[in-house]
Amino acid sequence: MEKTLEKNIVKGGGFLFNHPHFSEIFIPEEFNDEQKMMAKATQDFIDKEVFPFVERIDALEEGLMPSIMTKAGELGLLGVCIPEQYGGLGMSFNTGMLIADIVASTGSFTTAFGAHTGIGTLPILYYGDETQKEKYLPKLSSGEWKACYCLTEPDSGSDANAAKTKAILSEDQQHYLITGQKMWISNAGFADLFIVFAKIEDDKNLTAFIVEKSFGGITMNDEERKMGIKGSSTRQVFFNDTKVPVENMLSNRQNGFKIAVNILNIGRIKLGCGVINACKQIANQSTQYANDRKQFGVSISSFGAIKQKLSQMAAKTFGIESASYRAGQNIDDQVDVLIAQGHPEHEAKLQGVEQFAIEAAIIKVHGSDVLNEIADQGVQVYGGMGFSEEAPMARAYRDARIAKIYEGTNEINRMLLVGMIVKKITKGEFNLKDELDFFNTGMIHKDTFDAAPLSKEYKAIKNLKKATLMVTSKALEIYGAKINEEQEVLINISEMVIETYVAESTLLRTLKLIDQSGATSAGLFINLTKLYLFDAVRKSKNAGYEALACMIDDEAHLDSLLKVMDRLTAYNHLNTSRLSRDIADEMILQNKFPYTLYS
């Protein structure tokens, strides 16, 4: 009972102001047998139905992608989070994250799947009325219909509310006539259903509509020629007096911008989580290649420089995985609380995600960054072969890049997440002063629990939080309400926030594993945690230095703060080559990523 109450009070962004106990977080090792079986079935599906066809998918072979989507629907993959009364499985948010994680390794299919199950389906699930849900959700859940999401226009990307697409009420007031141009529309080429954002007459804000392809008046440009995810259908879509019945308006007039933002919130956490299996696959392939490839008479996996890359792949993947499922469970717990308080389910789900919008943005930014770093290292492990289309790394590298751009660029998300923290501080939701009182009390932290054998790491993370809050507080002191104009500073602060959250997630996961099975069997995870943290501290220190130097011209003042930063980021006594060799040796021995969660 006590534990439930503790869980209930977790707040979005609260991790910076509290020091949670490991028992309060969820770790992926705790997925039940049913969820693990779903993960394995998803892996089997992509092994059987996607991987053998990647080249044909990338060549945009007519009908191939929609046929794979239909098969995914038959297997139930498209309706995991749709309630059972609308033809879905009614599983938890974190189960949906798990499926997104596994699908992640499929490049173009990942995008088609994500666009359909996320931004294509969720607007109806969360904002549709009963008639709309009953009419459309079973078709989307089964894969009979495929969906896409039409928000972006040539002149409105990140500034979504600047869209020019118009909706005019017909004279008989039975239809809206939608006219406008949308671009970068994933799944457009085969979609049966379009979620379209348009402004009714001279409204200030957007309104969302459910548009069936059969309504007519829809034309498209050819497929875009893209750098990566070449097999994902991406087209410009033109609506030319498309006749949409008034009952197909989603939610209320001018509520479209809110819908767009909230749906992207959900989309982005799944997108961040939806890199994990791609990272694991690159690590698997890189390990196998490094074991097979002989130079100077030995496998290149025996070289420290290669071991360093393999171990970094493992540590970074471990990081995003730990953070994703921690946040996913926070959302599920929040949803349960809201439902228990009497909120309707769809509202509870929306508010649950909204509460953790900071974590959602962290996971989107970090997941996409990590995937790109790992893909880059994968190419490097493959050497010359990494640059050849004959090996899998070229595709992995190209396919990874878009994740930093779509569903809110990483820059927008970085500023957004710091903006949200600042807002919570200024609204009094979090008390910055209490947290920073350590300046006056000599920076000595009382341990809140015994974190042996990671007590040094536990302290380092507590100090990282202090460092992050110190820089944030300084920025607020200097810029006040104008902090949003200081993008460079915000981006540096976001780096500290992200690294703190992810490092803490790895630490808490490992402490929980130690608690469950002892330090000896958690040895690999202890190493992964330390290696991740070492990097996180270095990155945070650099970001903190840069932010402070951008803000403060007075050298003496700056020096005193940099000294504080040095003390708060003093996690230096670590032999990273020994750590990385230990981790990589396990990978080399197993010839793959060093641990398996779902078989």
């Binding site: 079986m37 079935a41 297997l75 499985l89 078989s599």
Partner: protein, 245 residues
């Protein structure tokens, strides 16, 4: 049509294999377990036959509680219920004896299993079950159709293929391409938790074999590349090092 599908709980094919207790016990630490791949084909064909002819599928496993996730997977794929004989599968005869006892109480038309497990790969259980029950046993079965009371099947034999017609009931040890293995769908996975999984105590039996110890196969030696002009050296290596003639 009443079908019994016997499934094994075996290490994933990519597992690292090692032994403990003076090499007498397989070390399960960190090993992921799966349904035996050949059993998977047998189960897939059972599901197809049930769709075609109606009836029911019982999955059977001889193993301790740790095998239940594997059994649930069989239920997710399409078995209607399952039995777990609560015992460590000591050897082929022990397992065959357990299966035979279950069949005696169950009136099954078809007893399907993989042609062999992929852990000990004995390939003996189907033959023993047939013998213990006094019914035909065929392996490795690559096609299986049922017409009335007759099983029409084909199996691989030395240098060819044998077509057989056998009156039911029979035991069949299956392999591909008898059916395409099935991925459990999400709804099947969810419904598996509510399907009955009955745990039975083992039927008494004497242990006929004892494992003295396991030995790992020698590591593969590297590939030697011989220049195409140097046939003499190749012949010498084949004769004196590889000893192929």
């Amino acid at each position: 049509m009443k079908i019994l599908v016997c499934i094994t709980h075996v290490p994933d094919t990519t597992s690292k294999i090692s032994f403990v207790d003076q090499d007498t016990v397989f070390d399960k630490t960190g090993v992921q377990f799966i349904i035996g791949p050949y059993d998977d084909y047998a189960l897939a064909r059972a599901v197809e036959l049930k769709e075609q002819l109606g009836g029911s599928i019982m999955a059977l496993n001889v193993g301790l509680a740790e095998t239940e996730p594997t059994i649930r997977k069989a239920l997710a794929i399409g078995a209607d219920e399952a039995i777990r004989i609560n015992a460590e599968p000591k050897d082929a005869f022990f397992v065959a004896h357990q299966i035979a006892q279950v069949v005696k109480g169950g009136d099954y038309d078809l007893i399907l299993m993989g042609r062999e497990s992929i852990d000990f790969n004995g390939g003996q259980v189907h033959g023993m079950v047939g013998e213990l029950l006094g019914i035909p046993s065929v392996s490795p079965v690559m096609h299986l159709d049922i017409e009335g009371n007759i099983a029409k099947l084909s199996r691989e034999i030395e240098g060819g293929k044998e077509l057989l017609e056998v009156a039911l009931p029979i035991v069949a040890g299956c392999q591909e391409p008898i059916a395409e293995w099935k991925i459990p769908n999400m709804r099947g996975i969810m419904s598996a938790r509510s399907k009955p999984l009955n745990v039975l105590d083992p039927f008494e039996d004497e242990q006929k074999t004892v494992v003295e110890n396991f030995v790992m196969p020698a590591a593969k030696s590297g590939i030697k590349m011989i220049d195409a002009d140097n046939v003499g050296e190749l012949v010498d290596l084949l004769k004196n090092e590889a000893k192929v003639f």
